[in-house]
Amino acid sequence: MLFNSYVFLFGFLPPVLVGCWALRNKNLRLLFLTLASWAFYAWWDWRFLPLMLSTTTVDYIAALMIHRTDVARRRNAWLIGSLAINLGLLGYFKYASFFLNSLNGIGKAIGAPVGLPDLHILLPIGISFYTFNSMSYTIDVWRKRVEPTKHILEYSTFVALFPHLIAGPIVRFVDLRPQLRAPRPKLTADAAGVGAYFFTCGLVKKLLLADQLSPHVDALFASSKHLGLVGSWAAAIGYALQLYFDFSGYSDMAVGLAWLIGFRFPQNFNSPYKAVNVSDFWRRWHMSLSAWFRDYLFIPLGGSRRGAKRTVVNLVVTMFLAGLWHGAAWTFVVWGLVHGLALGVHGVLKSLGWTPKSVIVNRVVTFLYVVAAFVIFRAPNLHVAGTILWRMLGTAGVESWSTLQGFLPGRFVILLLALLAFVQLAPNTWELKLKPRLVYGLATGVAAAVAVMSIAVPHPFIYFQF
């Protein structure tokens, strides 16, 4: 079920809101939200519901067992068991086909065909997100950062809560526990207002901006061999903007829905294209994921405490895995490595004092680098990515005016320029101090209605595939 579908907006959300706030009893409300979230998940494919339930059960039990004992060996064993099951399921469903195909490819390349079968495994939607949510809980319990809950409904609601279930933000139990333990007694006007504001912003970003860019960007990437300097940059910038408005739109909708059912989710995007360096970019882009990798991978690897070389290695390893998390394809691996190297190089340059002082120069360089890296992220394979990146250097010259008219319709160019200015200059949804006036309320309602009018053919969110 997509947030941007009639069935969600008019069939699922209204009864869930009514049910959620009609049930004052904490247990009943958590049970209701859990069941509603499972129904939300099962709408896509009910066969994968047991997978999520098993993750929930395993981590719930593992966390309690870790907490029960002070014997390090037993604690470690429960943690390793939990991680093995979580990563095993993720590895099987998400990466098994990729690794087998890669082995087949390598075997073929070196003249020793392996002939491993293609497993054709269907990727359960949202598995990367709920697995990471759940893993963070057992690790935090193991680290004694959080006490485990004995209340199964608190935990099942935390894992399954429908606003974050499919594509984040990746929420930590430490953030939600106070909210699960003492749910808000009633929906206040300010919470409903903030929820409606965020949800509408998300709808508008997704339906009226990202989905409008999508057909043009798809067409440009499909014609990679015929692009020149302008077309290739339009493809790259167009995709960077599409991805931002698509994913931050989803995150805004998730945050808005959370407010409407009495929860607070963390911010996931903070004007990432205003970043002044790659490190800053990762503090602003998909913040819940980068914080996850920082806390559960980069710091345990030694972070930046073991010298410059080791820091660079840690960064590259972390970003390699962050890339792989996005998808089982070499494009994602290379995209992660490119960012890992950039983070390492930036760290070295910064420690030497060689980074530019001008904020504008830093912003422009960072933006161009990030946009170029997104070409690798978007391209169907490394060959197409290489073709477009090569053409972005001007190697294929500039297209003729008539070709440009074919590739870049006026509406697309205007939208591209307007959104480019918007992401560089305008405040983001979290920074806006919108005053709750009548006229803004009317504007919010009309904006939501206009967005809903463009739903006719719902486009899935890009991050659903991860």
Binding site: A189, D190, G193, V194, A196, F265, G406, L432, R437, M453
Partner: protein
């Protein structure tokens, strides 16, 4: 060296820490700026205004579209629908046929120019019917074939079926689904106004269509100008009102060329679902002794050249799929894509995709000559 990864805040350092305090949670960006205002009454007004505006706007859009009913989903017919109502027209004409049409033309608006009388002259068949409709798909052909068969259950017919490279889709036109003549043949797809239609009438496309229809009515050409003869062919007077008549053929071709450049090199895969009605119709025709002639629609020469240069696989894939189907069904394939093959003229196009009557006659001559006897009078005996 200083960490260049998103810097760690104190609470993220390894160690034993209790649940985060309120200030820590704020630091972790759990509370947006807008929430700091804490003005309950103002927010109440805000949310009431937002919900009201949302509901009123959508209701207004729905009411507007429901009243104009541009896609004929409800069936008021207060004003003519935005889509050409030729499905109902043709189904009504079929219901009024007095003699079995010995040749039936099927397809989309591209087949509209085919005159059954001209085909009769070429083939020696006696009667015919043009059942091609705007946006005609396999489901339309299936319904037309079954309606004619229901009218004349024991007679045999020959078929000329115009298709494009995609051959068929799984779609059913809402107007077709709505028509009482269609319902017996569309299984569960029989139409009554459904929730999905509510979605359609909340959308931009339906609103634009409603606007176009109303504007046309206000400007004084509310009623359609497309008139049909009893054999389903267009009346001569209708030819100048065809929606495909481009004001400038050159401009229309240029636009189409630009669009073709963005086409994927290959066709989307042919699936059972896409071909379901196509195969159903072939099965039915074969079972009743007919060998239909499937004609690949003509393509404007410069567009065809571009397709050959960049997307030659599309034509090859379509032909390959048809040849694959020929192993299971009996039909003749005539590739009319390249107009040079059948002596077509570039100037005899109404727009970049539709040929006019002169080109259609040239194409029909070629089709009949290459129909392997499937259109001969013997085939309907």
């Amino acid at each position: 060296m200083e960490s260049s990864f998103p810097t760690s805040t104190p609470e993220h350092a390894a160690g034993s820490v209790a649940d985060p305090t309120e200030s820590e949670r704020l630091h972790r960006n759990l509370t947006p700026a807008i929430a700091e205002i804490e003005n309950g009454r103002a927010f109440f007004r805000y949310i009431v205004a937002a919900v009201t505006a949302f509901a009123v706007a959508l209701c207004a859009v729905f009411m507007f579209n429901a009243i104009v009913d541009p896609l004929s989903l409800i069936g008021w017919r207060i004003v003519p629908p935005a889509v050409e109502p030729d499905r109902s027209t043709k189904l009504n004409l079929i219901a009024k046929l007095k003699t079995n049409p010995q040749v039936v033309v099927l397809g989309s608006s591209r087949s509209r120019q085919a005159e059954p009388k001209f085909i009769d002259k070429l083939t020696g068949l006696k009667t015919g019917f043009n059942a091609g409709v705007t946006g005609g798909d396999a489901s339309d052909a299936w319904v037309m074939v079954r309606n004619i068969a229901a009218q004349f259950p024991h007679a045999k017919r020959a078929y000329i079926w115009f298709v494009d490279y995609k051959i068929a889709s799984a779609g059913i036109n809402p107007q077709l689904a709505e028509d009482p003549h269609s319902r017996p043949y569309l299984g569960n797809h029989s139409a009554s106004f459904s929730l999905a239609d509510v979605g359609t009438y909340l959308g931009f496309q339906a609103t634009q269509a409603s606007y176009r229809v109303l504007k046309a009515c206000i400007e004084g050409h509310c009623h359609g100008n497309l008139l049909y003869r009893r054999d389903g062919s267009l009346k001569g007077a209708a030819l100048k009102f065809l929606p495909e008549n481009a004001p400038s053929l050159k401009k229309a071709v240029a636009e189409k060329l630009a669009a073709v450049k963005h086409l994927a090199r290959r066709l989307p895969p042919f699936t059972n679902a896409h071909l379901a009605y196509f195969e159903k119709a072939l099965t039915y025709m074969n079972r009743h002794g007919a060998t239909p002639v499937i004609v690949l629609n003509p393509v404007y020469p410069s567009i065809y050249q571009l397709l050959q240069r960049r997307h030659s696989l599309r034509e090859a894939e379509a032909l390959a799929e048809l040849h694959k189907l020929q192993k299971r069904y009996r039909f003749v394939v005539v590739d009319g894509s390249d107009i040079r093959v059948w002596g077509g003229k570039a100037r005899d196009f109404n727009n970049a995709t539709h040929i006019n009557r002169r080109n259609m006659r040239r194409l029909l001559r070629y089709v009949v000559a290459h129909s392997d006897g499937a259109l001969s009078p013997r085939s309907v005996r």
